[in-house]
């Protein structure tokens, strides 16, 4: 092992770890020869996409893999104790006591029928031999430590009475309860809203520093790595590709995959490029690893040497890399330039003179749902969307951002008339579609389509791809024969970058990125003018996201489409939107032209949102100040009076409780709904 990567007394030492799972088609190797160390009190990030083996490797360390897993390693040592030959009882004693683990989904990670108190005190009583009262006292301390107020009464509550962010705090409390030396967090914030994400990550970083606990964060988000980690390990294809200090790896990558990843991730502040420098292809299938370097099939600079042994070497900047061409990167003669990069920068498209009149107009739009919680509760009214006033021109892309409960998805569904508004009007091309029915509604549907978030459940598993795409054409009578339908289907497949032989496949035979392309092709089948993209890239791997974002941009140019792009990732929205709309608890709080918005958002919520998003550039030390937002988003069933954001706003004034601020133009192209600008 290279000297620069080892330290005198690492907390955890892993050498040549391999994990494979027995399955009926043979062994599936999820981790192949991984070696790394965790040093005391450091924060190490393990970064990878799906199939990289990042989660499996940590579960292996914890001994939490299922029975059909086979673990092999040259060394697996924690605090001097060999984990390979340990007895199950001793491993259990270690788990929870010396090594804590936090999982991704806080909603399902806690037992619904046991109180929080019982779940926190359990390890204390088990591992530390505390009595009930001692454990309870300590549990209260822990809850306060993780920022949950009113600890004594909270202890007797059940998980469903806590929000997602608070449940994750409870998980952190449990993880830290017995003063472990190491805490492993597997995608701890992926399921949380951006502002809560920031709170949780800040909390984890703070606590680990203070208590001297080493933290391993497993994530796919490079921004999180940049902002919080000391060192980073990049995994791909079950192997380590690169490892080093965060600043070094992110600013001077020495593996082409790392470089590619960095180029394809949209950013919040660097100059906009016309198309992202995406990585072609998809992550490999763990059942069929390629020869040599797992990344070679997708690497535009692969050589024959890449198909052979690719040992890990120390680089000129002190990191380690498994890239055969690292020296060239060090010398500056090789950098990541993908096959199709558009180096042209894009300006916000000027409104074409022909686009007189708006495509879509929303006036005072409102949607209220009646919600019944269980057999025994009353029905409650939730105002999902209120007072929305917006117009969308042809050729525009409106990027809509906000956190869960803000109503952006509902708004998208209203635009498509998948829901009927409770009040207000929707005009499409001047026609009032608010209460359309039957064949008029069907005619409208030809002009406005949707692409959903989850590529795996948005295609009918029982239909062939060709049917999925041609069905709308046939149902609406847009084609006169099977042959014509087939021809148009193949054209569409080409348009979205897929091969014609995909037409006769089924959805489960394709990857996530390919499926999303099919969904786009289906949306285009009737040549609509308007497409709602509901988190269309959020469920894709980072390297695939860039491809699909590029595709959407290309299609917009070619077909003169308008998009209503719903997203939670401000960086992605920046890449594709011409105007940005920020929503909070059902209302629009800011509308701005893209460049103006990203230069300086005006609404306090928008500002906090922007600052909460970790970005790769944070590693350069030019860290944007995090504007902290206190507390949790209010429940949509009990919104605060006046401005809904006032309960968390750092600039709240007494007047904010009295009236709901209206959206008004405070700068050219920027509208804000805030009393500060009144």
């Amino acid at each position: 092992m290279s000297p620069s990567d080892s330290s005198p007394h690492p907390l955890l030492k892993v050498r040549d770890l391999s994990v494979s799972f027995a399955s009926e088609t043979g062994d599936v190797r999820a981790v192949r020869g991984l070696s790394y160390e965790v040093r005391p009190s450091e924060i190490l990030a393990i970064v990878g996409e799906s199939g990289s083996g990042k989660s499996v490797s940590s579960l292996a360390v914890m001994g939490l893999l299922p029975g059909n897993a086979k673990i092999n390693a040259r060394e697996l040592v924690f605090k001097g104790q060999d984990l390979l030959s340990i007895t199950p009882a001793a491993m259990r004693a270690l788990r929870g006591r010396e090594i804590g683990m936090i999982f991704q989904d806080p909603v399902t990670a806690l037992n619904p029928v046991l109180t929080i108190g019982e779940q926190i005190t359990e390890p204390l009583k088990l591992h530390m031999g505390m009595s009930e009262s001692q454990a309870r006292a300590r549990a209260q301390e822990l809850l306060t430590l993780v920022g949950i107020s009113d600890a004594p009464s909270r202890l007797d509550q059940y998980p469903h009475q806590f929000s997602g962010g608070m449940r994750q705090r409870v998980m952190i409390a449990i993880g830290l309860s017995c003063n472990p030396r190491l805490l492993i967090a597997d995608e701890p914030t992926t399921a949380l809203d951006v502002t809560i994400q920031a709170q949780i990550l800040e909390l984890m970083q703070d606590l680990c520093r203070r208590l001297g606990v080493a933290l391993v964060i497993i994530t796919h988000n490079l921004g999180v790595v940049a902002r919080y980690a000391d060192r980073v390990l990049v995994m791909y294809g079950g192997r380590m590709l690169e490892c080093g200090t965060t600043a070094t790896v992110l600013q001077q990558p020495r593996h082409l995959y790392t470089a590619g990843l960095l180029s394809s991730v949209p950013s919040l502040d660097s100059p906009l490029v016309g198309r992202l420098a995406a990585i072609e292809g998809s992550p490999p299938d763990p059942r069929r690893w390629p020869e040599g370097c797992a990344f070679a099939p997708r690497c535009p600079h692969a050589q024959s040497a890449c198909r052979g042994e690719t040992p890990v070497q120390t680089t000129d900047v002190g990191s380690v890399s498994a890239c055969v061409r690292a020296p060239e990167m060090a010398a500056g003669t090789l950098s990541w330039t993908p096959l199709h990069s558009g180096r042209h920068t894009v300006a916000a498209p000027a409104r074409r003179a022909a686009d007189k009149g708006s495509l879509v107009e929303l006036r005072d739009l409102e949607k209220t749902f009646s919600v019944r919680r269980g057999l025994w509760s009353k029905t409650a009214e939730v105002k999902a969307v209120g007072g929305v006033h917006l117009s969308i021109a042809r050729g525009e892309t409106i990027g809509v951002v906000g956190e869960s409960g803000c109503g952006k998805s509902t708004l998208g569904r209203l635009l498509l008339r998948l829901e009927e508004p409770s009040a207000g009007t929707i005009l499409f091309r001047g026609q009032d579609i608010t209460h359309l029915r039957d064949h008029q509604l069907r005619d409208f549907r030809r002009q406005a389509q949707v692409v959903f978030q989850d590529p795996f459940s948005s295609l009918n598993p029982r239909q062939r791809i060709s049917d999925i795409i041609s069905e709308p054409m046939r149902v609406h009578g847009l084609v006169k024969s099977r042959a014509e339908a087939r021809e148009q289907t193949l054209q569409l497949l080409n348009l979205v970058g897929l091969r014609e032989d995909h037409a006769d496949r089924f959805a489960h035979q394709l990857s996530g990125g390919q499926r999303q392309r099919i969904a786009i092709a289906r949306a285009l089948a009737m040549r609509p003018d308007f497409i709602v993209c509901d988190e269309a890239v959020s469920a894709l791997d980072v390297s695939i996201q860039a491809q699909v974002v590029n595709l959407l941009s290309d299609l917009q140019q070619q077909l003169h489409l308008s998009y209503f792009f719903i997203g939670h990732d401000l960086a992605v929205v920046r890449q594709i939107a011409t105007r940005v709309v920020v929503m909070y608890l059902g209302r629009i709080v800011e509308v701005a032209e893209r460049d103006a918005f990203y230069r300086q958002p005006l609404h306090p919520y928008a500002q906090a949102l922007m600052s909460a998003i970790p970005s790769v550039s944070d590693a350069a030390g030019t860290r944007r100040t995090l504007i902290p937002i206190r507390g949790e988003p209010p429940s949509p069933m009990a919104p605060p009076s006046g401005c809904a954001f006032r309960t968390r706003c750092p600039h709240a004034m007494p007047e904010c409780a009295q009236q709901v601020p209206a959206l008004r133009e405070v700068a050219p192209g920027q509208q804000v709904a805030c009393l500060k600008f009144a």
Partner: protein
């Protein structure tokens, strides 16, 4: 999840064959069930060839004979050969059991899926009606229907009996299919179908129902077990299949304690026949559920 080019399934038939052999390997109990059912089907179809005696022939000189070379399963209190009656009994059991389960599953399934699709008020109304229908315990409902309708033969089959067995199961199956259909209703591809302007009918028949085949099949096999039991119970109580048609439940009815303590074969074999048949369908249902569970794929 594969990304590279996977060969498309070769031919339809070999794909089915492969799937079948995989099923037998992974679900041995299911394979056993299929075997037993195949045997029973053979008995039902080839009854006349298989049965050594005429099931209706009464011989008062051979009453209650114990099993032997002449009568493999003995004779009953009318001198009729038990084995032949059992073989012939397979017909009414399978015919009634399968047809009623299928009819109930088609009607109930359709109602359940439609209810789940529309949601809201429609769903609530249908559910309310369903709840009311379900308030009457199953066998009681069947008894009432049978009492009300009486008997009606059509082409050798008691149609009213079929109705009496089918009708009570419709609300049950509607409920089962509704629970299976609800999660599918929420899936994006159904929303996408709505957004594409497809008619309700199209979405339900082309998009929802094909994806409900797995739970539907499981339900059919599991409920066939129940319909066979119900038919046997009704026959036992004297309101199901009537004499002289051989039916297993009927063979057990009105057998007094004296008779069966001295000639246990009279009740042993018919009861065993019922149990084995119901058992096979239940096992099959279990095996299908395991095999078709999407979590077991990939």
């Amino acid at each position: 999840m594969s990304h590279s080019a996977l060969p498309v399934a070769t031919t339809h038939r070999t794909a089915w064959l492969r799937r079948f052999s995989r099923f037998c390997r992974k679900q041995p109990l299911g394979a056993v069930a299929l075997l037993l059912l195949a045997l029973m089907l053979a008995a039902a179809v080839f009854g006349p060839q298989l049965a050594p005696h005429d099931p209706l022939a009464t011989r008062f000189d051979a009453v209650l004979q114990s099993p032997g070379a002449q009568h493999w399963m003995g004779t009953d209190s009318y001198g009729r050969d038990v084995f032949s009656r059992i073989v012939y009994g397979t017909r009414s059991a399978l015919l009634l059991g399968i047809s009623t389960a299928l009819m109930g599953a088609c009607i109930g399934g359709g109602i359940g899926a439609t209810s789940a699709y529309f949601g809201g008020r429609v769903d609530a109304a249908i559910q309310r009606i369903n709840d009311i229908l379900l308030s009457i315990p199953l066998i009681v409902a069947a008894l009432v229907v049978v009492a009300v309708l009486g008997r009606r033969e059509m082409a050798g089959v008691d149609v009213n009996l079929m109705a009496a067995i089918t009708l009570p199961y419709i609300p049950v199956m509607a409920r089962v299919m509704r629970s299976a259909a609800m999660p599918i209703r929420q899936l994006p591809y159904i929303e996408a179908a709505r957004a594409l302007g497809f008619s309700h009918w199209r979405i339900i028949t082309r998009h929802m129902l094909p994806n409900l085949i797995s739970p539907w099949l499981v339900m059919v096999s599991a409920f066939t077990a129940q319909t066979i039991l119900l038919e046997a119970s009704l026959s036992f109580l004297g309101v199901g299949v009537h004499e002289p048609t051989p039916a297993w439940g009927l063979m057990l009815s009105s057998v007094s304690v004296d008779v069966f303590t001295n000639a246990p074969w009279v009740i042993l074999f018919p009861g065993l026949a019922i149990s084995v048949t119901v058992f096979s369908f239940s096992l099959l249902g279990d095996a299908l559920r395991d095999a078709l569970d999407p979590r077991n794929h990939l």
